[in-house]
Amino acid sequence: MARKVAVIGTGQTKTVTRRTDVDFPGLVREAVTAALGDAGITMRDVDAVIFGSSPEYFEGVNNPEKWCLDASGGFMKPQFRMHTGGTVGASTGIGGYYHVASGMFGVVLAVTGDKLSEGEVQYNLSTVYDPIFGRDMAAGAPSAVAIQASRYMHKYGVTEEQTAMVAVQDRKNARNNPYAQLQLDITVEDVMKSPPLCTPIKLLDACPASDGAAAMIFACEEKAKKLCPRPAWVRAVSGIAESANYPYRDWAEPIALIKAARKCYAECGITDPRKQLDVVELYDAFSPQMLIWAEALGLCERGEGGRLIESGAASMQGDIPINPSGGVLSANTIGATAMVRQVEACLQVMGGADQRQVEGAEWALAHGWGGGIQFHTVMIVSSEEP
């Protein structure tokens, strides 16, 4: 029986295209300060820090956690860096969980972020591709996602209009989120008419690139109960990796996510996720992904993603609100993004999501993906103690 771990505070910075008033460590400090304030503790109460950021090429500094050490509060504390691509925000959160679950630490600060504006984002993203086997053809992130989307939409007959609804819904939800970058009032037609990036992905189907950071405070049972009136208990975590390329890979079938979700559901006794979860924050960097992930998470039958979004079931008024925060389509720092999903999930069950609060939310799931659309993380939090 694993030790109980809860989140007792969170913080995030408002995501924008570029911050010129701070450097990367400065962004990190903002998120940390916000989380400490939210939890009502000071750096003296923190036993260990865990840091995450995505490819070093974004800020152009190797071992950025060393550079950000002062700003993350790591002075004379244990600290190390996670980096798992797009999932890094979540793997860092999961790492924070394990810091406490191991019994080694009582209060742990997890902080993630990136300052994408320091360099050329898509150029830097193209360094993900192997230099010998694919970099010449790399076109940043959209190319890989377009391959996934084409396969999925062809396999299940999901239309571009349906995926456009995702883009509309997310940006509309973002208008309730003071931290989101793209708070847009757009229509399906606007999306369909927006310039193509990598067919079928169009400009308005794509996430922005943001500067930002997020932080979470994890605590053991004793500290959580002492410090927080309504902590978000971590009920399950999982991080599964597929391979980037394997012979029988079907890009429409995210088997790593299906496995991670199943493991987490089993651990929580969730047999009907659509009913038993109150809200889901998933990592939709591009609009078709909301539907693919929703299916893999069992929120609807395989191939029914298009109908899910059409029906309004995933809207704030629906029975399984997805991305009240506006999701990744509305803000994407890459480094903090998957952690922001966890932060938002925690805020929901802690009753702290303000305008974007889903009434009475008690069970929330946070998802992240990364790499060659191969790493998937799932974290389930609840106001119900395990």
Binding site: R19, T20, D21, V22, D23, F24, P25, G26, R29, E30, M43, Y57, E59, G60, L69, D70, A71, G73, F75, M76, K115, S117, E118, G119, E120, Y123, N124
Partner: protein, 151 residues
């Protein structure tokens, strides 16, 4: 105090082919502006422990506090706290090898800045007193400081 009230700067650079526009943050930006406009060093103090940082990076890492907004005077001289003579360079070396690097603590500061030492190898030692030497053309960049020379 608000981060956005601080003076800031941007530094252009590259790693291989990849271009960068690094933001410097408030106190670093201010120091670089002093390099460019006043040819001098300033320090920033931690309100909690009183340590004066040169070069400053917005916070005192030991106390986890924002540094004071108003810079404090340091220098004009400093002391070599440590040094080395570089004979094997890397792609980013600031000079042809061999060259001397030193950690120099300006009078009035509690920390040192790493910069070139403009002196003969045989004359360099810990404790040596030095003054900054500035370039004629300055842009608000670390290289505005040619290095430190013996007093």
């Amino acid at each position: 105090m608000k981060m956005s009230d601080r003076k800031y700067g941007v530094m252009k650079g590259s790693i291989g082919d990849a271009p960068y526009n690094w933001t410097t943050g408030g106190t670093a930006g201010r120091l670089l502006a002093e390099f460019r406009d006043k040819r001098r060093f300033v320090g920033f103090r931690c309100p909690a422990c009183g340590k004066v940082y040169v070069p400053a990076r917005d916070i005192c890492g030991e106390c986890y506090e924002d540094l004071e907004e108003e810079p404090v005077k340091v220098g004009p001289q400093g002391e070599v706290v440590s040094f080395t003579i570089i004979r094997e360079a890397n792609p980013e070396s600031p000079a042809e090898v061999p060259y001397a690097l030193g950690v120099v603590r300006m009078d009035g500061a509690d920390t040192g800045i790493v910069a070139l030492l403009l002196a003969d190898e045989k004359d360099i030692g810990v404790g040596m007193r030095v003054v900054p030497v500035w370039r004629e053309e300055r842009t608000g960049h670390m290289s505005d400081l040619r290095g430190f020379a013996p007093v």
